[in-house]
């Protein structure tokens, strides 16, 4: 009897709870806006003139990194009401709310007795009135750029949930000269444009540079002696060597995620197939056997699958196969010709170039070919490459010709969703960008 009563009581309590929760109103917010988040970066606290200089350099670089990501807008310091004098006390949030700063970065720099610099900073959520993060970095004076990128990475990670990519580099093809005598050189720079240098002298045409996972090497296509072949280049020493000893042309190279193999296309007697070459053993392996064109292979981040481009269905389309060359499945079914697929480092999307009715597109689709979306289009847009966190895509864009003059070729960076399209500044015209993996 007691047991029954107990059961009834439990059911009654449960039902009353359910009815209470049901009574509360729930409203779905399914729309909003997508704009750079306004943030405040207070001048980093310092005492000596040298510390002041370091503070200025570091805070400026953090500001530039965050703004370049397209996700943040740093509010003009002239609008700041509070002058931060110490980082160990909560800021006056009301002062920052007035200027609509949603996050606030405060910091200080010290030069230590051994000459190293110590940079401390805190990240505050202004609306929630709480600290989101706080770190301190020690480094040598000459290393201030890298440490600033690392701080920007930390802030970016905390605010977006993604891995920061500011401490990375971009390799690309620098272009100059008239269209018929175009000089193309390999170039490399930090993602913010600093430390720019050319890697090849421009004697031979170069295309499609791709980073190794270690960041120390590039694989690319070069027309040395007018024969297109895949080469390896050691970035630090400048030493280059041919990849494999194949009878025909090799092109469209990429490293495997572990960096022990190069996957590429070998064209021989009118037939193009995909091959891998083990860089340690120098053993090659043919993955596709089709009497047409199979090209542009790209590994999935877990090395289990490869996406490539093939005309086996009548027109160039995207296909996915296992890393042993089996289980080939077509994944693109839209109108137009698809090419240059590249698998996202996150593994969730494949970026590609599409050509349809005289217009080029850069788009993304899932690894199963679903959810195809165009994120950029133009007279010539092609060759997408992912940032290491898989959130943004860099691509080549050529302007429309004006008054019989060729349009300029530039590199652009766009958000995965198609927002925040902006140019990456380069000293010369630029194409074929390749974003490095994260520095370890």
């Amino acid at each position: 009897m007691f047991y029954k009563l107990k059961r009834i009581l439990i059911i009654f309590v449960f039902l009353s709870f359910v009815s209470q929760t049901k009574a509360e109103l729930k409203i779905d917010i399914t729309s909003g806006y997508s704009e750079p988040t306004p943030i405040g970066i207070s001048e980093f606290i310092s005492t000596s003139p040298e510390e002041k200089m370091v503070s200025k350099q570091v805070s400026n670089l953090i500001k530039d990194d965050l703004e370049r990501s397209g996700l943040f807008r740093v509010i003009d310091p002239k609008a700041y009401i509070q002058k931060i004098s110490t980082i160990n006390i909560q800021p006056r949030f009301s002062d920052w709310k007035i200027i609509n700063a949603q996050a606030l970065i405060v910091g200080q720099s010290n030069i230590q007795s051994n000459g190293d610099i110590r940079i401390e900073f805190r990240l505050w959520d202004v609306f929630a009135e709480q600290q989101m993060a706080g770190w301190a970095f020690n480094t040598t004076r000459s290393n201030w750029r890298q440490i600033s990128h690392r701080i920007a990475d930390k802030i970016y990670e905390r605010l977006t949930g993604e891995i920061g990519y500011f401490d990375t580099r971009i390799a690309y093809v620098a272009e100059s000269g008239p269209p018929k005598q175009r000089i193309k050189r390999l170039a490399i720079m930090d993602q913010d444009g600093a430390n720019h240098r050319f890697l090849t002298n421009g004697k031979n045409l170069v295309l499609t540079p791709r980073f190794s996972p270690s960041q120390q090497e590039l694989t690319y296509l070069s027309f040395i002696n007018r024969i297109p072949r895949v080469y390896l280049l050691d970035i630090e020493t400048g030493r280059q060597e041919i990849v494999g000893d194949f009878p025909g042309m090799t092109f469209a190279p990429r490293f495997s995620p572990l960096g022990d193999e190069v996957i590429m296309t070998l064209a021989d007697k009118g037939n193009s197939d995909i091959y891998t070459l083990n860089l340690k053993t120098n053993i090659s392996k043919q993955l596709t056997k089709y009497p047409g064109i199979d090209t542009s292979p790209s590994y999935s981040p877990n090395s289990k699958q490869i996406v490539f481009n093939s005309d086996r269905g009548g027109s160039p389309q995207l296909y996915v196969m296992s890393s042993n060359g089996k289980n080939i499945k077509r994944i693109s079914f839209g109108k137009g010709n698809y090419s240059t697929p590249v698998w996202s480092p996150r593994g969730d999307y494949i970026a590609f170039t599409k050509f349809h009715k005289g217009t080029f597109y850069v788009g993304v689709m899932t690894a199963k070919g679903k959810g195809e979306r165009v994120i950029a289009k133009g007279f010539l847009v092609e060759g997408p490459t992912w940032t290491p966190n898989g959130r943004m895509i860099a691509y080549t864009k050529k302007d429309y010709p004006k008054e019989k003059k060729e349009g300029k070729t530039k590199i652009y960076l766009i958000d995965l969703t198609g927002f925040n399209d902006r140019q990456i500044n380069t000293p010369l015209e630029a194409s074929d960008p390749a974003w490095s993996p994260l520095l370890q």
Binding site: E24, L25, K26, I27, D28, I29, T30, S31, G32, Y33, S34, E35, T37, L71, K97, I98, N100, Q102, D125, F127, A128, E157, L159, T160, G161, E162, R346, D348, G371, R373, G390, R391, M392, D415, L416, T417, F419, N420
Partner: protein, 278 residues
């Protein structure tokens, strides 16, 4: 000569044949019934294609909203005012009407006030009508009209005053669709969606919000705290939603103060899926 062969076999065959006819007839009739019920198939008509399902937002419309009730009340009052000279003797009518409204428990309070008002009208008319009984019908009507005009204004004021006194509990009011839409738009303008976030299709964040009477947020908290600790993408999405709620631009939520009980505690579900197109 086998008699069986001559006599019984034909009989048996005949019975069997009849049985067949019976079955055939049964099938035929069944077909006819089917045709009558389902109709004759049109072989030349194009086959209707199954269209892909379109997502539809289902909105629950409350059984009773505030606006029609107030209108209803006003109309009733006006009707009674217009016909009060006829309604004097029709007490029974009021009773029957009242009974029908009494069936609706939500409207009891309202009807009581209506009933009181009507009774007062009836009393006034009774008093006024007595001397008019000896006069001509036309004259009485004119006088009644004049009385009506004089009283209309004062009655209107009373109605307005009484409407203001109506509380949501008495009327059983919920927020109307337009009020919920206004609320939705109010927070949409403050929500900076984390574009390009991973697994954006699975980042819906529920935030429980408590408002003061002026529509300002007193307290807001993310409901799924456990997921925040283990999922950085969700944490980012949740924090962006929380910032939208706490954004100073989103003070003074546009909601009617007389329904404060209905919106002082609300759960806002921020879902970026449809925006990002995942």
């Amino acid at each position: 000569m086998n008699i069986n062969h001559l006599v019984f076999n034909p009989l048996k065959n005949e019975i069997l044949n009849k049985k067949n006819y019976l079955i055939q007839s049964f099938i035929l009739h069944l077909c006819v019934i089917f045709l009558i019920y389902y109709g004759v198939p049109n072989l030349f008509k194009y086959r209707t294609e199954f269209l892909p399902p379109l997502p539809v937002e289902i909105i629950n419309i409350s059984h009773k909203t505030a606006a029609p009730k107030v209108n209803f009340k006003k109309n009733k009052d006006e009707e009674t005012k217009k016909n009060n000279y006829e309604a004097t003797e029709d007490k029974t009518k009021y009773n029957t009407q009242d009974k029908s409204i009494d069936d609706d428990p939500d409207a009891v309070a309202l009807n009581k006030t209506q009933l009181k008002k009507k009774k007062t009208v009836v009393k006034v008319n009774k008093i006024k009508k007595k001397p008019n009984q000896l006069q001509s019908v036309l004259k009485s009507i004119e006088q009644m009209k004049q009385d009506l005009r004089n009283k209309k204004e004062s009655k209107k004021e009373k109605v307005v005053q009484k409407d203001e006194k109506l509380t949501p509990d008495k009327l059983g009011m919920t927020l109307t669709i337009s009020e919920i839409d206004a609320m939705r738009k109010h927070f949409e303008k403050c929500w900076n969606i984390p574009s390009g976030a991973r697994e954006a299709g699975n980042l819906a964040t529920e935030i429980k919000v408590r408002f003061d009477k002026e529509g300002n947020v007193i307290n807001a908290r993310i409901l799924d705290i456990n997921r925040i600790r283990r999922d950085t993408y969700f944490r980012t999405a949740a924090e962006s939603a929380l910032r939208a709620v706490l954004n100073p631009r989103c003070k003074n939520a546009p909601l009617p103060i007389d329904k404060y009980d209905k919106w002082k505690n609300i759960t806002l579900n921020f879902d970026p899926k449809s925006v990002i197109g995942y």
